[in-house]
């Protein structure tokens, strides 16, 4: 069974600084997607960034970028120039492509605090 592990229950960063959130996963699949979702207090999960496993280039979305290390099964999220609005729970998620199994599996999350 696929599992996703986020080893940092909480992280904090100063406004305008950079922070990296860690995520590792376990799978025997070769083709899959990885996602980072943000969940503010309003509870709605919002997609931050996604990475296709077959792409070697790391995904980037404005101030958000990932470091995808397929061999190490690592998928970290870097937030640059942190803003107060970035404060939220961040969830790493995995989704396989093969065998008709499209179950989206989440880690336990990292709570990010942004200090002014």
């Amino acid at each position: 069974a696929q599992t996703v592990t986020q080893s940092q229950p909480e992280m904090s960063v100063q406004e305008a600084e950079t922070v990296t959130l860690s995520c590792t996963y376990d799978t025997s699949e070769s083709d899959y997607y990885l996602f980072w979702y943000k969940q503010p207090p309003s509870r709605q999960m919002i997609l931050v960034i996604r990475q296709e496993a077959y792409k070697q280039q790391n995904a980037t979305e404005n101030r958000f970028s990932v470091n995808f290390q397929k061999a190490a099964k690592s998928f970290s999220l870097k937030i640059s120039d942190s803003q107060l609005g970035d404060a939220a729970m961040y969830f790493c998620a995995y989704k396989p492509l093969q065998g008709g199994s499209e179950k989206l599996v989440f880690g336990k999350g990292t709570k990010l605090t942004v200090n002014p």
Binding site: Y37, Q44, L47, E102, L104, V105, G107
Partner: protein
């Protein structure tokens, strides 16, 4: 484009009472998920639909939980009877999954259930 709509946003019931949650996915999305999210945890899949077919309900406590997705569009999740341990946020999500070119899952705002 309207997002995933869930209702109600909040529900408080006494234990042993029934409760139902409703989800309207994004138009055209064939995959629908119901997740349960306990406080401070990541979402855990309860059931996944492909159109009107439940393709993964292995984590659904079938003695008290039931779900349906009529005509492959709206879905309801029911608990009868509710127990104290069912208190959680119930999230609905949808995605358009067509093999290559899959999209991410879009989430509703969830229903916070409190069983007293």
């Amino acid at each position: 484009e309207a997002g995933v709509v869930q209702s109600p946003r909040y529900k408080i019931i006494e234990k042993k009472q029934p409760v139902a949650f409703w989800c309207n996915p994004i138009s055209g999305h064939n995959t629908l998920y119901w997740y349960r999210q306990n406080l401070g945890q990541g979402p855990e899949l309860l059931i996944r639909y492909e159109n009107e077919e439940a393709v993964d309900d292995s984590q659904l406590p079938k003695d008290r939980f039931s779900a349906e997705r009529l005509k492959g569009v709206d879905s309801t999740l029911k608990i009868q009877p509710a127990e104290l341990g069912d208190s959680a946020v119930y999230l609905c999500a949808s995605s358009l999954d067509r093999g290559v070119g899959q999209t991410e899952a879009f989430f509703g705002q969830g229903t916070r259930l409190t069983v007293v």
